[in-house]
Symmetry: C2
Subunit: 316 residues, 2 copies
């Protein structure tokens, strides 16, 4: 039996599961990020204890605890630095606190992107591959790399930041402070911004309608919904975003020659409306010999991704 803990910016969860990916039980609650790290972690430890009690289990029944949390963090020391979604966190010894609360149980801490990559590799769209890249396409473009059958973390746990390669040297400003990052061109907010910026000469009427008549409130979801209805304006927006994403993936393919690339969130929602322009750009910007061995697919785990991300850490 494995205890998985997922620490998110808005909600967090404790999960009991098995190494094969079966979820036995889960409890979720709001993170209440403003209460600070000590309070959040105390609540999560209490939540985990309740979950064990509910299942008539004791900490002795646990073979391991996996904790998935936003980075930056140090997997060697188990310390979490300043995740953008958790204000007031700075050098929080998350692993040590859980080790203290559950003595004798092995605790593994990993950043959420790497953990989700491992989950998709072991239980989802990456099953059976030896080398795989997983990329979220949500608020940001985070990622994790499985190379030669194991998670690759890099020198200080920062490998896989595929979303912060430079695609357009003088491109739009990215939240990270650089210009023209893939994330600034192909994340959810980038889809919304591109659509908003293109609303000239009466274009995008259906999109504005779906967004309640308010262009400033257009989101990536509105764009995808309209594109699915057949709206050409929104399909073009997805096609442009897909081209940038495809260039970023082509670079990844040239550098890592992976067997599979698994894409989350936007790619899951939009499906071929986004995957097809991505594949078309990859065909243009990557060598045939490398891209022909690399399939580009949507993530499979959906709502279970966060739970399994925490479980898989202790299963590995």
């Amino acid at each position: 039996m494995i205890l998985g803990v997922d620490i998110g910016g808005t909600k967090s969860a404790a999960v009991l599961g098995r190494a094969d990916g079966t979820i036995i039980a889960r409890r979720e609650e709001p993170t209440e990020a403003q209460t600070g790290p000590q309070a959040i972690l105390a609540r999560l430890i209490a939540l985990a204890r309740e979950l064990l009690k509910q299942q008539d289990l004791s900490p002795r029944d646990l073979s391991g605890i996996g904790i998935s949390c936003g980075g930056p963090l140090d997997t060697k020391t188990g310390i979490v630095y300043r995740p953008p979604n958790l204000p007031d966190w700075d050098a929080v010894p998350v692993r040590a606190l859980f080790e203290e609360a559950f003595p004798g149980v092995r605790v593994v801490l990993e950043n959420d992107a790497n953990a989700t990559a491992l989950a998709e590799w072991r239980y989802g769209a990456g099953r059976g591959t030896q080398s795989m890249a997983f990329l979220t396409m949500g608020t940001g473009i985070g990622g994790g790399l499985i190379l030669d059958g194991r998670l690759y973390r890099g020198a200080n746990d920062l490998a896989g930041e595929v979303g912060h390669q430079t695609i357009l040297i003088h491109g739009p400003l990215c939240k990270c402070g650089k210009r023209g990052c893939l994330e600034a061109l192909a994340s959810g907010p980038a889809v919304a911004r591109l659509a908003q910026e293109s609303l000239h000469y009466g274009r995008g009427k259906r999109l504005v309608e779906i967004a309640g008549g308010k262009p400033a409130q257009i989101t990536a979801k509105h764009v995808i919904d309209a594109a699915k209805e057949g709206d050409a304006f929104c399909q073009n927006v997805l096609s442009e975003v897909g081209t940038y994403m495809g260039i970023g993936l082509a670079n990844l393919i040239q550098i890592l020659n992976p067997e599979r690339i698994v894409l989350g969130t936007l790619a899951v929602h939009a499906g071929d409306l986004l995957l097809e322009p991505i594949r078309k750009a990859v065909a243009e910007y990557a060598w045939e010999r490398s891209r022909s061995v690399c399939s580009i697919v949507a993530a499979e785990l959906g709502d279970r991704a966060q739970d399994l991300a925490a479980i898989v850490l202790a299963a590995e």
Copy 2:
């Protein structure tokens, strides 16, 4: 005792050495590429036998044979496909031919960029690191990746093509057929082209002088020589090329978070005249947290690189 065989486009060599990087003896001869794969390999096998005989050794004294050759090739089957520098080669079973010639001796075939990366990692500028990228900066920009303490080859031996990531979407045509590849912006021929294209309004007089008065014959070496003399025009050319290289390396750092990047040829010749602009661009285009743990240095093995590249394959 290890036999190393280096198959190049103009010359090839057989080398005897030890796993610690000591070279005992070597024989070199022109490849005579036009004679075709069968003749070339027969001559190399004969050369290797002579070398053994000279040292009073027999094939039984060999612990392994390492063969370094231009790709594309398949390390699993030991077959070399169509290296651009070896015309008429197509699906040549190089490993099998050496196994036949030296029965009972383990033979390892690897592409030259990966083999050189291993050699720099084990004997040269990458010593002591767990994750390292090696990039040639010569006629092309090839490369090899050492990740978590071992060579990473990718799904079909094409990992490490860092030189064929797209840096400028509508950039100059690359020899590979794509546009705006790093190789088209920062290889030796790119340095020469950039210098030639910039010779307007009487600029670059010293460079043209060094090139014998013939702008069309300017090479990267001329540019570096003039820059070393203090010529501002040529220093600017190197600075521009270094900026492109730095953007490519920043992308690599974002994706792989390596401990070290080792650069060959141009970087070795030009030293800080190229390394400084590279490091400056990396500081602008990569996150401080990732680049601060990554040193960017020139390769160390020089003339010994090819010999050690072959030796290291059997030493690993």
